[in-house]
Structures are given as structure tokens and as C-alpha cells.
Symmetry: D2
Subunit: 350 residues, 4 copies
């Protein structure tokens, strides 16, 4: 084992990152050290990089960001029993407290005291990352490394899609960032009867079509409401998965959902949203759900099972692959709106 | 049988009503004629009386309003098989179409083509009312007439309370009009661990206490949030039943509900409501439900069973009893804010 | 319109049927007359043909059997509003009473007073069949006639598969008669992670493989338990769909299901089944469901949506097509164990 | 702290116990030592005492039995963070592994590797008991010690009652041992419309009446089926909680449950049970559940909330109180069939 490692570091409270040589994390008795094979970039990482208002309020540098990855176990503390060297793993990066009422009743994904590795503690944009044993997710070697590195956002999609009935239902996905794109694949895999993808960005719409959405709509040009009504016998869709967080997308969600339908909200909003509760929710008898993280660990079992069964083709979402040290180039690519998921390789490009 | 009957009539598109002598309704083959024993006044009737904007858009006079009642079967059409003369009955006044997808999948309470007797067709503020057999609800004679006349709003309360888990849960009810007050009794009857009643009107708070809410709060004076937090170990309530429709009550609902909790919305709003979706819904992992009418006929079975078992003491909510011809006095009483449920007797005061 | 029609008739309480010329059914005000395009044979029809003990206790000749079909509307009573001449339709043949508590709470599939067309009243093995409007199911012309004629058993499969969580779950189907075979297709379409088909009959196993079961096992030769355990990481399957009704298949179901799993029972048994409740059910924390008919009409919406979306390839199950007048040949074919679903054409072979 | 303690010990594989002076348990880093205030006797303890076949197969002496208790924290290991000296506590005695799929998906009550304190490790029939921190349940001092000592069986009852819809439902409880008796109180507290208690033992029927079952029946004399049908309008009960484990009680359960009803099985059987699956389960569209232990820790939150709210009067079930050293007398009392729950006090009778 070397003594130090390459990492993408945020050394102080300011925009940007630095590629640095830092000490390899020390392990406590329940920790596992993982050599990162592939990591991937989330929108959150762009916020941290840009040091925007959200980042200023939440992040305490120095920090190594990164919360999507896969790798190989290289060491572990003396109380660890469930992994061994060489295991192929990813991890749930929300570390729940295990002691609050939510944690003790199967709702650890909304733990009151959650800490997120890569946000509140050093993460995976490095050669090695330290993870508590409870959060390690062992992977079948049959699962491709590229997919193994994007289980965090894929899990968001699986959690959202499976938060209610979906088989034989019509589904609209508003917003086709990576999670929205994954949701197309997941919804199809679990028997959605018709998937509408609604997205303003042209690149994303192109990928949505590659993911085999049945109908891809541009809300800046297409008449979304009338198209949906026409294709659902005037009923509206059974389910909307809201993944844009944009006021107009949310307005569309409430317009196109049928009476008695479900809206699952995942896309974070930066502005207040105004609704007419009577017309939008009550008379329609809607169910609206806030979706956070991944169910621990139901979602992980579900997505692993779908991947292992070969039910998900996620390749169109992976648009870029680069060396981890070129992290800043990844940030530029994301800013163009022409990249979806960007993979980073600590040991140079794939 | 007489040829005509006394009725509270809205003869034209203008405020007020008239007490008139009108023909007794004619029966089709599937209709049932009921002699009204007791009817009761709903907030909707006040809108119709005052001829406010909502009424102007929805009501087409001439109309006999009234959708809460009980009575006795006196005649029926030749295809009717399930009732006989003398049966003690009430009725579900939402007449669902039976043919839309919602009706055909057990969701008739959100039928796309619903017609409401007393709103879209002549109702129960009269000596007799005509109801289709499908909507008649036969009652055990053990159920008191006073309760039998308020099953419509009691059903709203039962539907809302039982729309999710409630046993051993902490519950807040925002808004203590009659439905909110009924909801206190229902929540207690089905094992809510603690019931908070939140209401600005003094009379209503007094009744809420009589209904045995564990904690009654005046949001204009009390610190609702800190009281709830103190009495729920800092967690917030598991369930909010929102029955006010007022922006501040809705704000309170989202503030006091715990992570992973449920908000069931029944109170109709007249203004847009603004929410911060990320903080208010998504991070909290909430479930929000729009509640409309009563489940046909699950809710009716449930409330009848609770009443027959003697689990509900609703008397404190019934504040006034008067002759039906004194309907306008009832309107005045409601306007004072000092009346809750007002019962009307077609044959003079009780 | 002709005055009479060809029908497969069971004239008296004895084995066999006769091909007869009988009067076309007369319509009441809510009835629809359908010209049968394709009908199909169910195991029930074999019981009726053979006049076995079950048939002797249940069937009251004269009777025209047949409860799986599709056709075209040719006439209807004067209260019918939702169909018109030429509509392509099938029908739910369980006619629920609409008045029992089950019917009034969305559980019409277990109506206390159900009558089955083709069992308790003249059915679809004829040129025309009479159906009450409420039970007609209008079909998109895009759905192939062959599939439209087998919606009754397909609906059994859809009902069973979707009676609990299925996406990303491992599933075993014990018994691969037509409904079991359909269940393979449905389970795959809605995202089952792995489908085990367990069947002693060689022909059926061959079709199960054509339906793309992941693993097809012969319980008379294969070690079912160890194969399932090996392929589920020692856990057992999440879900068993029991469609054999045979004691050994049921024993297998309880052996291979995981702790906390679901067993949905559809296969009718002719003998008592013995279980060790403590070991088989209680310690395992199982959920066991009895599945009857199709949910009215949720199941119909679901299967229509799946068919219209092209998610189900059912062709391997349809092994025989013949003229309806050759009904007795169909009975012979079924008896060989080498036929699965047999289609009948009133107007000669397809 | 003393060095040794009084304990009820099973020193070898033979009937009986001995009162012994044994060392106080040593603590690991995550253990908590509790001074037992009250413990109580379960039927399991009688099996262990009598050294019957079940005990011979499961128990490995030497063992201190006892898995129902409450007490006070007196010491804890150095990694324990959630309790302090003097805390009033009880404990979940099923120690789940935390690593199997059941544990990782919120189903720890059916953990594949569970160990039970008092069965697989030294338990609470002693002055002190060692419990891992994860399993400690802190109690509000408002909860009476007597109730705090019986949370394990009360939790079985709460788990069973709340395993499906119960509010406004009719419920039959077959078998009125302590858990069945508790279930009467819980069912009433959460709004069951009518509770039938069915029990052959006269003492238990008397207590069932004290627990306010609406109808108490002796199956050796009363016509249970006709009484239930008469009082449920010919429908049968919505829910049966089977707590006898006896073939006749189970037969009754299937006879009296309505179409579409639920049977929750808790009572362990010692013989195979024979059912006619078609008539008993499938045509009725039943749901049958195996119930094991208590949900960790949903059930604990639920029962604590009900107790704290004063919704449960459990006193009639507590029939005997004695010094712990008189354990063998407790065994005799249980054998008479005239005792329900027996409380043991390590420091002499209460």
C-alpha cells in the first residue's frame, strides 16, 4: 500500500478544485478502504465546484467530493465481517445514524442525522475512499464497472419509479437529466405501458429517445398537454416522475396527471412553487410523494436484480469518460448541456 | 301521498332562498323517494345561499339545495330491489357515472362525470327527496336520526382519517369546522395516540375540547410549532389532516409534520398556495393526498360500523336544531361563527 | 339477422356435447349481443364435457358453455349507452350482483352472488352470445383477435402476478397450464428479475421455455429446491404463483419461497392439503393470497395496456385452431396433454 | 456492584430449574447491563422448564431463561451512546444479525440468523441481564412497571392486530392466552367495530370478558359459526387473529372469515393442519399472514404510544405476582390453566 493518493480536493471555501496528493484515509474498526475504479460526476459536484449559494451553506472545506463510484476492497477494520480483499463494491453514501425513529422503522433514507460521504466527509474523487461496512454494497462481478459506478443516481430513479404502482401504467417523466433518463429505462423494464419524456434540452431529448421513451416532447415547442391527453384517451397519465425541479415542469406535472394519479417529486426546486390546492390536488384525489435518496437497502437489491437480469441498457446516458485528474474538463462539459453522465478514471482514461 | 311538498328553493340566480310549495319528485324505474326526517346544513349551502362566485359558476337555478339528510323510504321505481317502504336510510349524494375508468376501478369518489344531488340536481332541503337506488344507504334503526343526517360530512372525516395509517400515530387537525371536529372523534376512535386540534375560532376550539382533542391550540396566540415539537419528542406529528383550506393552516401543516409523515388535504382553498418543494416535501419524504368525498362505499361501511359500535360521540358538533322553513335563520347562525352543525326538521323543530 | 345460430350445446346431464341449431338470445334493456369471432377452451370446459363430479354439482343443463371469446357488437338493448354496432369487444364473464358488501367495496371479483356466463348461463361457444353492458370490454382494434379471445385466462395471470410486488423480484410459477404460461410472459413484462417455471408435462415445459422463463424445471427429475436456492443466493424466491393445484406443487411452493415472501394461490385443488403452519407460514412470515377471477375492472385495464404496448408475446401458448363445430376434437387434444390453448372459430377454421 | 447475582438457571438438559448464585454478565463495548425490576413468564418458559421435545431440540444448557422484563440501566460498554445509568428500559430479545437481506430491508423480525436472549443466550430471570444497545428500548417513566415487563407479548399482539386494516372492522380472536387477551385490548383501542373472543378455557374466557371483548364464545358449547354470522349480517368477520395453534381453532378461523378477509396466524401448531385450498382460501380471496415476533422497531413505537396515551388496560391479564425465586410455583400455576400472565420480582414480591 502506498502512503498517499491522488485526490480531487476542495481545499478552501472558493470556486474550483485542485488535484492533490493527500494521505490515504485511516480506518476505524468498522471501516472499509476501497480502491476507486470508476467514479462519476453528479450535479451536486458542479454546485460544489462552482461554490454557489447552496455549497457555501452546506460544504465545509477541505473536502474531497464524489459520491458515485465503484471499486475494490483493499483493507478493512478489525470488526468488519462481511467483505474481504478484492470484493467488487459500490456504496450507499448516505450514512444514516441508525438511532432516530426514521432509522429504527425502515426509513433510514430520511434519517434525521444523515451524513453524506462526498458532501459532509471525504468522498470518492480519489484513488481510495473510506466507507463504513454497513454502507458497502457488494456487487456481482457480472455487473459492468460503468454501471457499478452510477448506482447512486440509478438508485434515485429506481426509488422514484417503484414508489407506487407502475406496471401497465402510463408514465410521464418531466426533466431528463441523468436520473430522469435512468427512470425511462427503469419504467420500461418494470412494465410501464407508455413513457412520455418531457425535456427542453435537445441533447437530453436525443438521449431520452435512445433510452426508448415512447414519446419525447419539447415543452418549449410541443403541446404537451394535448399530446398526453390524445395518447391516454383523454385521461392523463397515471404517474408523473418530476425530475426537473423547474416551476414549468411542475405545472405540467399537475396538468397532465389523471384523477387519482401519483406525482413523485425528486427534482429539487430553487424557487417557491405555487399551486391551486383545490383544483390541482384535492378534486383530483392525487397522491404526491417527496422522494429522497435510495431506500436502504431495498432500492439496492432492486437495482442490482434488474442490472443482473440485463433489464437495463444505460449506455446512452454515459456520454463522457476521462481521467479523474481532468475533473475540471468534466465541469466544463457539464456546463455545455451536452453531457449527461461523465465517468472518471483515477488511473487515466479507461 | 300528497301532490306537493314544502321545499327550500333557490328559484333564480341571485342571493337568498324561498320557502315554496313544489311538486313531489317523479320516480324513474331505479329511483327511490325518501321522506326527509332530518337534514343538515353544509358550508356549501351557505355559498349557494350567498350566491358567491363559486355558486355563480356552478349552480343552475331553479334548485332545491341540501345534500345531508336521513329519512324513510316511501316509494320506489319498479326496478328497485334492495329497499322497501319504511326503511330508514341516508344517501351518498355524489352520483357517479359508473362508466369512467375511475368508476370502473374502485375510485368512484373521483368519477370524471359526477353529479351531486343538492348541487347539480334537487336535493334534501324539502319534505321529500329522490335518490337513485345505487346511492341509498340503509341504516340500522339503532343509529340515532341526528347522526344519520350528518353522514355526508362524517364520511369526509372518516375518509380523511383512514386514508393512511392512523393507529398509535400522532395527528394534527388544522381547521375545526364540522368535518375537522368529526375527525377528532374518528381519530380517537381508531387509536390515534395524540390529537392536536388547531383552530382560530373560539367557539370551534371549545367544541374541539368537548370532542376530546388532547391538545387544542389557537394559532393566533399559541406557538403551535413548539408545542407540537415538545409533545412529540421533537419529531413532529405523523399525520396532518388539513381541513381549513387557509394558507396559514397549510403552512402550519407542512411545518409540524414529521419526516416521512402524511398530509391529507380536504379543506378547499380559494387562493394559490406557495411551497418550497425541496424543503417542504422532498427532503422530508412526505406523502400528500387530496381527499374528495367518501369512498363508495367503503367509507359508508366504516362509519356505520363505528357508529353502531358506539365509538363516536358527535353531539357537541350539533349546535342548532330548527324547523326547515327557518333555513335563513340557519344561514345567519352560521355567519356568526358560533354554530357548527345545524339540523333542519321539515316538520317543525324536533 | 338470422333467427337461429350454431351452438355447442350440453343438452342434458351427461358426458359430451352436441352441435345444435338454437335460437339467438333475446336481449333485455341492458344486454348486448355479440357475434363471436373467436372463442377458446378452458379446463373448466373439459370438466363440463366429461361431466365429472364438479360439473354434476355445478352445471344445470341445457347449457351452452364457453367463457373465453371476442367478437363484434351486432345489437343491444335500449338502455345501453357505451357500445355501438361493430365495436370489437370481449367480456368479463363473472356477472357480479353489484349489491353485496364485496361488490360495493371494489371487490366484485369475490361477489357473494356471482353468476358466470358459460357456466351458470349460456356462453360463447356459439355464433352469438348475450352479455350485460356492464361486463362488455371494448377493445382497441390494434389488439389481435387471437389475443382478444383469451383475455379471461390472461386476466387470471395478470391478477395473480400483480397481486403484490413483482418488479425486480424472483418468481417461481408452479404449474404451466395456459394461465401459468401467460404468467411467465406477464411476470417478465413487469420486471421480474428471474422466472422459474416448474412443470411435469414435457409439452408445457417446452412452451414455458418459449415464453422465456429463465429456468424451466421438471420436478419429477430436477432438484427444484437446490436449483432455486443456488440461483437465489440461498434465499429462496420472493414470490410463488401456484397454478397447479397439486399437493406436490404446493409443497414445493412453501419450500422454495423465502422468509417474508408471497405465495399467490390460483390453482384449484381437488384434495385437502396438509401444512405445518409453524414452519411453513409463521416462522417464515409469509403472505398467502387466494386469487379468484379478475379484478373488475382493474385487471382488464392492466392487461389491455400491456397488450396494446406490445409487451406480451402469447403465441407459443396458442397450440391449436379449429372450427367451433369440431369442439369434441378439441377435447381430445386437451386430453393428450399436448395442447395448451385451443381457439375455436364459429365460421370454420380461421 | 455485587460480583454475583441470583438467577433461575437451567443447569443441564433435564426438566426443572435451580435457583443459583451466578456471576453477573460481563459487558462488551456495545452491551448494556440492566437490573431487572420485573420479569414475566411466557409459555416458552414452561416448555423449557418441562424439557419437552421442542426444548430438547432448541435449548443448550446451561441457560438462564426469561425474555420478558423491564429494569434499570446500571452499566454499559464504552461504545454505547444512547442510554445512561438509571434509564428505565425493556428490550427486544430477538437479536437480529443486521446483515441478511431481511434485516437490510426492514424485515429484521424474520432475520435468517436471529438469536433470542433467554432462549439462545442468558436471559432475564435473574437480578441482571445483558442486552446489546441496539435492542434496548427506553421507556417513559409514565409507563407502569407491570406493563413494561410484558412488552414482548404485548408486542406480538400489536404486531398481529396492526398487520392489516383493523379500524371499523369485525375481528375474531381464536385462543385467549395472554397474547390473545392483549389483542382484545389492542383491537378495541384501534377501533375494531366488534371483537369476538373464542376460547375453551373458562378462566381465559372470564378474562376475555374483563378485557371487554364484545362477544365471548366457548367453542366446546356455543355455535360459533352461527353466532358470528348472525352478528355480522351473514358476512363473517373481516379479520381473524389466530392465537391458539389448535386444529379446531384454525378450522373455525377459516369458517368464520368473510370473503376477502384476513387471517393472521400467530399461534404455533404442533400438528399438521389440513385445508381445502379451493374452498378455504381461493374462492374466498383470502389473505393469510404468518406473524413472527415484533417489527423492529415499528411495533415498539406503536405499543409505547398506545400505552402512554392510556389506551390499554391490561390489568386483568396479570393474574399472579411472586418472588422470582418461587419460579417453580409459577410453573405450577400455569399448568392449572388458571393463571394468565405471571410477574416475577427478583427482590421478593412486589
Amino acid at each position: 500500500m502506498p502512503n498517499s493518493m491522488m485526490a480531487v480536493a476542495k481545499p478552501q471555501a472558493a470556486p474550483g478544485v485542485e488535484i492533490r496528493d493527500v494521505p490515504i484515509p485511516k480506518l476505524g474498526p468498522i471501516d472499509v478502504l476501497v480502491r476507486v475504479k470508476v467514479a462519476s460526476i453528479c450535479g451536486t459536484d458542479l454546485h460544489i465546484y462552482n461554490w454557489d449559494r447552496w455549497a457555501q451553506g452546506r460544504i465545509h472545506p477541505p473536502l474531497i467530493p464524489g459520491h458515485e463510484f465503484c471499486g475494490e476492497v483493499v483493507a478493512y477494520g478489525n470488526e468488519v465481517t462481511s467483505v474481504k480483499e478484492g470484493d467488487f463494491v459500490s456504496a450507499e453514501m448516505h450514512v444514516a445514524c441508525g438511532k432516530c425513529p426514521q432509522c429504527r422503522t425502515g426509513e433510514a433514507h430520511i434519517c434525521q442525522n444523515v451524513r453524506i460521504i462526498g458532501v459532509d466527509a471525504d468522498g470518492a474523487f480519489a484513488e481510495f475512499v473510506r466507507i463504513p461496512e454497513s454502507n458497502i454494497w457488494k456487487l456481482d462481478p457480472a455487473i459492468p464497472q460503468e454501471y457499478a459506478s452510477i448506482l447512486d443516481p440509478l438508485g434515485n430513479a429506481v426509488h422514484t419509479v417503484l414508489a407506487g404502482e407502475i406496471a401497465a401504467r402510463t408514465v410521464a417523466i418531466t426533466g431528463c437529466g441523468p436520473i430522469g433518463l435512468f427512470a425511462i429505462a427503469v419504467a420500461r423494464a418494470v412494465g410501464a405501458a407508455q413513457v412520455f419524456a418531457i425535456e427542453v434540452n435537445e441533447h437530453r431529448r436525443r438521449v431520452a429517445a435512445q433510452m426508448k421513451a415512447d414519446v419525447v416532447l419539447d415543452p418549449s415547442k410541443d403541446d404537451v398537454l394535448s399530446t398526453v391527453m390524445q395518447r391516454t384517451a383523454g385521461l392523463g397519465v397515471d404517474v408523473v416522475l418530476e425530475m426537473a425541479g423547474h416551476p414549468e415542469a411542475i405545472r405540467t406535472a399537475f396538468d397532465i396527471v389523471r384523477r387519482g394519479g401519483r406525482i413523485s417529486l425528486l427534482g429539487l426546486t430553487s424557487k417557491p412553487i405555487s399551486l391551486n390546492f383545490s383544483e390541482d390536488i384535492i378534486f383530483k384525489g392525487l397522491t404526491i410523494q417527496g422522494i429522497n435518496g435510495r431506500r436502504m437497502y431495498q432500492t439496492w437489491y432492486q437495482m442490482t436484480a434488474l442490472l443482473k437480469a440485463g433489464k437495463l441498457d444505460l449506455h446512452p446516458v454515459i456520454t463522457d469518460r476521462m481521467a479523474m485528474k481532468d475533473f475540471s474538463k468534466g465541469m466544463e462539459r457539464l456546463t455545455t448541456g451536452e453531457a449527461s453522465k461523465i465517468l472518471l478514471y483515477p488511473n487515466g482514461t479507461k
